[in-house]
Amino acid sequence: MRATRFAYRLLLIAFPAAVRDEFGDDMATLFAMQIDERRRQRGSVVGLWIRAVVDVLQHGMAERFGAGESPRPRRTGGWMQAFLHDARYALRMMNRQRGLTLVCVLTLALGIGANTAIFSAVNAFLLRPLPYDDPSRIMTIWEKRPAEGVLDNVVAPADFLDWARQNATFESMAAQITLPADLTGVEEPRRLFVAAVSPAFFNVLRVHPILGRDFRPDESFAGKPRVAILSYRLWSSQFGRDGSVVGRTLTLNGTPVEVVGVLPASFEFADERVDLWSPLVLEGTPQPQSRSSHQLVVFGRLKAGVTVQQARTDMDRVGAALQQQYPETNRNHGAWVIPYEEWLKSPVRSSLLLLLGAVAFVLLIACVNVANILLAKSAGRRREIAVRSAVVAGRARLAGQMLTESVMLAGLGGLVGLLVGWWGIQALKQLAPAEVQIVGWSHLRLEPRVLAFTAVVALATGVLFGLLPAWQLASQDVGASLKEGGRSPGGVRRRVRVALVISEIALASLLLVAAGLTLRSFQSVLNDPAGFRIDRSLTVSISLNGSKYRTREAVVATFESLERRLASIPGVRSVGETSHLPLGGRDGRQGVTVEGRESTPDAPTRAHPRVVSPSYFRTMRIQLLSGRPFSEQDAPPALPVAIVNETMARRYWPGASPIGKRVRFNGAGDPWMEVVGVIADVKHWGLDARVNPEIYLPLKMGFGSTMTYVIDTDLDGAALAGSVREQIRATDLNLPVGALRTMDDVASVSVGSRRAGMLLVTVFGVLALVLAAAGIHGVMSHLVALRTPEIGVRMTLGASPAQMMSAILREGAIQAIAGLAVGLGGGVLLMRAFRSVLYGVEPTDPLTLTVVSLVLLATALAASAIPGRRAMRVDPVNALRG
C-alpha cells in the first residue's frame, strides 16, 4: 500500500505542481484503493498500472499544455485522442505478447545502443566545436614542402619569428613544443611534460588563468627569470589545489622556475600529456635561432574578417620572401595555413565515419529483423485486423494504429538502447588509443545532442520497420481475409519477406567484408617485419639534467655506469641504450653531407640521427647487414664513425657499399664520420609507417642527455621494476624514473587506434551476422509453416523427407547467394572509399571475400536447416487436414 502510493506519487510528476499539491494525496489514495480492490478480485495489477501510466500521462500533459478542461465535450475527437487511443491499444498488445515484445526491444536496443555510442564519439570529436573562443579563427601554420609532398612539417624557430613579424593577416601567432622535464626538490622526483610556448600562446587560444597571470611578452627573452603556468591537473595532483602556489618556486631540470598562474579545469589541449606551460625562449639568445632544425607547432588567430584563403596568400608571400633571403635553408619551403579544427579532426574523421556507417548497417539489419517479426505477427492477426477494419476503422486509421505500435516498440528499444549506449561509451573509453591527439575526451558521454540523436534514430527506426507491415495490413483485401478465416498463402507477402532476407544477408556480408579487411590490415601491420624485437623486454627512459652533467664526459660516464648496473641485475641478459626508441614517438632530422654526392634542393641529403650504446643493436636484435657494430673503442680521440640503415645506404650510395665512405652533419664544425656498418631498417614511426634514412652514432661520440634503456630479460616487468628503480637511485638519487614499459606495450600503443578500429568493426560485423542469422531463421521457419500443406501433398505423392530438406536448403542457399552478390560488391566499393584505413591489403582481397562468403552461406544453410528438419517430420495426413 505504501509502496504503491509512493510509486504513484512519482508518476504524478507529469502533473503541474499546483495540481499535485491540491489533489496528489487524494489521487494516490484512490489509486491505492483501486489496486487493493483489483488484488481482492485477483485481477491483473500490471494492467491497472499500465492504465494508470497512460491516464496520468494523458491528463497530466493536458493539464500542463492544454487549455483548461471544460465540462463540455469538444466537438472533434482530434488526432491527439486517436493517438492516445492507439497508444493504449498498442500497450495492451505488447503486454499480451511479452516474449515477442522482448525480442524486438532487445534487437532494437542493440542497434540503437551501438549507434548511440558511436555517435557520441562523432559528437565529441567531430561535431563539437573546439572549446576555445571563436575557434574557427584559430589556425595552425606549417612548413610547406610541395616538392616532397609534405604540407604540415614542423617549423624552424627562426622561420616562426619571421612569420610572426612579417604576416599581415594574423592577430597573433604563437609556437609550441612539448618536452619532458624533471621536477625535483619534491618528495618524489617526477618526470613532467612541459609545453614551451611563445608568450602569445594563450592569447591565440583566448584562455585566461584562473589564478595568477598570463605570460608577459618579454618572457620569451633569454636571461629573464623562468616562469611557469600550471595545468589544472598538476595543480590538483601535486599541489592539492593550494591557492598559494602562485609565487612558489619549483625546480625543473635543475633550474628554478616561478609559478605565475594556474589554468582552468575546462581548458583542453590536443597534447594531453602537458603538465605545465612555460615560455619558449627564442629571442636574445647568444646564437641566432636555427632555420634548419624543425620542431615547432605554430598557432595563429586570424584578424577579424580575414578568410583562410587570404591568410594563405599572405603566408605564401612571407614564405617566398624567406626563400629569397635564405636560399640554402628555405629553398622550396613555404608556409601552409590549415584551420586548427580541420587539422585536429581530419585524422580521426574517416575511421569514425566508417564506424558510424557500420553501426547504421547493424541498425538496418535490426530493423529488417523486427519488420519480419511484425509481419509474422500480423499474419496471425489478419482476421482480427480484418474484423476491426470492417467494423470500425478506416484503412488510414488502421495503418496509423500499426505505426503507433511500431514507434512505441522503437521507443522502448531506444530507452534500453540508451543503457546499451552508455555501456558502449564506457567500453570506447577503455579502447581509447592513447597516441591519438584529439580534443574532446571529456565530452565522450551522453550529452543532450546524443540523446536527441538517439530519440530521432528510435523514432525513424519505428517508422522504418513499421511502414511495411502497416502498408501490408492496410492494403489487404478485407473480405477475402474474413472468408479465408485468416489463412492465406500470401504470394506478395512471401516475396516481400524473401526480399527482406536477401537485403539482410547483403547488409551483413557488406559489414563482414569491412571487418575482414580491417582485420587483415591489422594482421599485416603486425606481421610486417619491424626490424627489432617486440616482446617483454623492458624499456625505461632517463634524462640527465642539472649542474652535475655539464660535460659530455660526465653524461656518458653516468649513462654507462647505469647500463652496467642494470646489466648486473640477476635475470637480465643484456642492456642497450638509444636516444630514440623505435615507436617511442621521438625523432629529429638533420641535413647531412655525403662525400661525393651533391645535395640539391629537390633531393636534399638528410638523415634522422640516433645515439646508441655498443650493446644496443644486439639487445634489440637489430640485424647488422654489413660492416661492424660499434665497440667500446669508438670513443674520442679515435676518428668519428657512424652506422647507417639500409634505406640510407641504398638512397645515398646506390649500387655501392657505404662502408669506408664519409658523411657529416651540416652544422658548422661538424666532423667527417666514417661509415663502418649498415643495419637492417627499423620501423621508427609506427608499424605501418615508411622508413627514412637513419644514421647511428656511438654513445661516446654522440649528443643529447636523454637515453632509453632496453633491458633483455625473461623476468616479469613488475618483478624487475623494483631492482631497476634501485639501480637508478644508486646512480643518482635525484633522477626521476619514467614509466617502465615493455616493448610489447610500446608497440601496442603505436597500433592502438588501428586496433581499436579493428576491434569495433569486427564486433559490429559479428553482431550483424548474429542478427542476420536470427532473421533468416525466423523467415525460413515462417515460410516452412506456410508451406506445410504443400509439403504434405508432395510427401503423399512420394517425395522423401531428404528431398524436402534439400528443397528448403536450396531456397536458403539461393537467398544467401543473391544477398552475397549485392553485399560483397557493396563491401568492396565501401572499402575502396575508405582505403586510407587499409594496410597491405586490397579491397578485393580474395581471402576475405571467400571467407565472408563461406561464413554467410554456412550461416544461411544452418538457419534454414532447423525449420527444414521440421518439414521432414511433417505428417502428410495431419498437414492436409490442417
Binding site: 495540481v19 491540491e22 489514495t29 484512490l30 489509486f31 491528463h59 497530466g60 483548461g68 465535450p73
Partner: protein
C-alpha cells in the same frame, strides 16, 4: 449544450448530498458506465467542475473523530444543480424521441 458524461455522472452522484472523492468514484463505477475510473481523469474533471462553479468544496461540515481528516467533501452549487437539471431534461427529451421512433419498444 451537452455535458461530458463523467461530469453529468458526478453531478448526479452529488444530487443526493455531499460526497468525498472515493465515494463518488465508487458510486459512478457502480452505475456501470466506467468500470475503473482512473484518478488522473477523475480529479482533472473535478478540478474543472470546481473552476466552472458547478460544485464546491465543503469546509463547514462537522466531522466525527472516525472520519479521515484528509478527506475532502464536495457538494453541488446552485449552478451545478441547474446544469444537472438541464442535462437531465435534454436526455429525457432524447429518450422520449427515441421511444416515439420505436427504438425502445422491444425490451432487453
Amino acid at each position: 449544450m451537452a455535458l461530458k458524461p463523467l461530469v453529468f455522472q458526478v453531478l448526479l452522484a452529488l444530487a443526493d448530498g455531499e460526497r468525498h472523492g472515493w465515494a463518488l468514484v465508487r458510486e459512478i463505477q457502480q452505475r456501470g458506465d466506467f468500470t475503473t475510473l482512473m484518478p488522473g481523469n477523475f480529479y482533472r474533471t473535478l478540478r474543472s467542475m470546481l473552476a466552472e462553479g458547478l460544485i464546491e468544496e465543503v469546509h463547514t461540515r462537522s466531522r466525527t473523530e472516525a472520519e479521515d481528516e484528509r478527506r475532502r467533501y464536495f457538494r453541488l452549487t446552485p449552478a451545478g444543480s441547474r446544469a444537472a437539471t438541464v442535462e437531465a431534461r435534454r436526455l429525457e427529451a432524447l429518450v422520449l424521441e427515441s421511444r416515439a421512433k420505436n427504438l425502445l419498444t422491444k425490451r432487453g
